[in-house]
Subunit: 194 residues, 2 copies
DNA sequence: CCATGATTGGGACAATTGTCCCAATTCGTC
DNA sequence: GACGAATTGGGACAATTGTCCCAATCATGG
């Protein structure tokens, strides 16, 4: 098999395992078994575990980047874009209830480990933050766009954490509705000023 | 030294290490070194690592329980009580910026590990949830007290996660101010109905 | 002061970890 | 079909893990 294809399969399996079990709790052997290759072969594709982590982070950044920009390209209004962002919580609600937010939980773990890739994980937050900020700017909020972006990012993180703690409750849906209502209020505030 | 005193020192050190480094990333040897006892001696006080974790969770529950009830005993109004809860974020802002929320990050890790003590960690959330619910009930919100409690809990979790990701920004203070403003609005809503 | 039980440190144990090597196999190309 | 490079599996390696045992030391009551 082509090396690049095996490499992609490794990243895919590692991505899922790092999310579901955590980075440290996932061993080389776990990933190798999931991919269906030997531990020895593994070394041919990635020299260290940290290299896999970096590849996984890079993959996640690319995936999220494409998802966000698709919404913009689809001619969604800035408000619709932010609503789509909030909708991620419902789109992935099953996984979030089981494992929390892939961005937040990875960052928390790497921060505690003082892992060199902590800054890489923060780039995932940056991606969402900058994209959201731009949307709020386009909504006519140049002065507080960043604060609004951080606010909705924090609300999402909190909702994911609590949904993970209480997976069998309608909490997540309620919280999403409140966030959409908040978004409406932000947009209305703008309409008044115009 | 009395066995009980050594035991308390072990719990204190483990509590800090589990918070700062995570449960899995903290080894028996780490805790033993922090306490200043030998690894062999350790076994005399705790048979397994999971037993230490349970003791740490129990300790955290007791500490938070006492803190919350002190506010009630101090004749603070229900609204003041909730404000004090929100104020935890500022009181512990340095630690939160470095290591996130002790409750949320521990729960996330144990959830990923499918650790038996996941339910114990959830009790920490329950403690805050039930206490907050009671305060909102006392504020005259019997119908949506639980939803309000969950909401403020989620907001706190999200604020802690983002403060951990962006420790050098005034974000946490802004978010606390917004939460206090939200609390005022909830209380005002009540005043109108009266 | 001694005897008894509580507490301790040193170290053994198998299992697993990330890392690394190397001989065998597979593959594309001539 | 043969050659050379790409890819593979099996296994070695030291280090660390949680767990456990045991002999030495301590404190205390007789």
């Amino acid at each position: 098999m082509a090396a690049s294809a095996t490499r992609e399969k490794i990243i895919t399996s590692a991505d899922r395992l790092f999310y579901e079990r955590g980075f440290e709790a996932t061993s080389f052997a776990d990933v190798a078994k999931a991919v269906g290759i030997s531990r020895g072969n593994f070394y041919y594709h990635f020299k260290t575990k940290d290299q896999i982590l970096d590849a996984v982070i890079e993959r996640r950044i690319k995936d999220r980047h494409d998802m966000l920009n698709d919404w913009v390209d689809d001619r969604q209004t800035p408000k619709q874009c932010v609503a789509s962002f909030i909708g991620i919580l419902l789109m992935n609600n099953k996984k979030i209830r089981s494992f929390g937010c892939p961005v937040g939980t990875l960052f928390s773990e790497l921060a505690k480990l003082h892992h060199p890739s902590e800054s890489g994980a923060r780039k995932l937050f940056d991606l969402f933050r900058i994209w959201l900020r731009r949307r709020f700017e386009d909504m006519g909020r140049p002065h507080d766009a960043d604060a609004l972006a951080m606010h909705i990012l924090a609300r999402s993180q909190g909702a994911a954490t609590l949904a993970n703690a209480y997976p069998n409750e309608p909490f997540l849906e309620n919280e999403v509705n409140q966030m959409i209502a908040w978004l409406d209020a932000v947009a209305d505030q703008n309409a008044k000023k115009d």
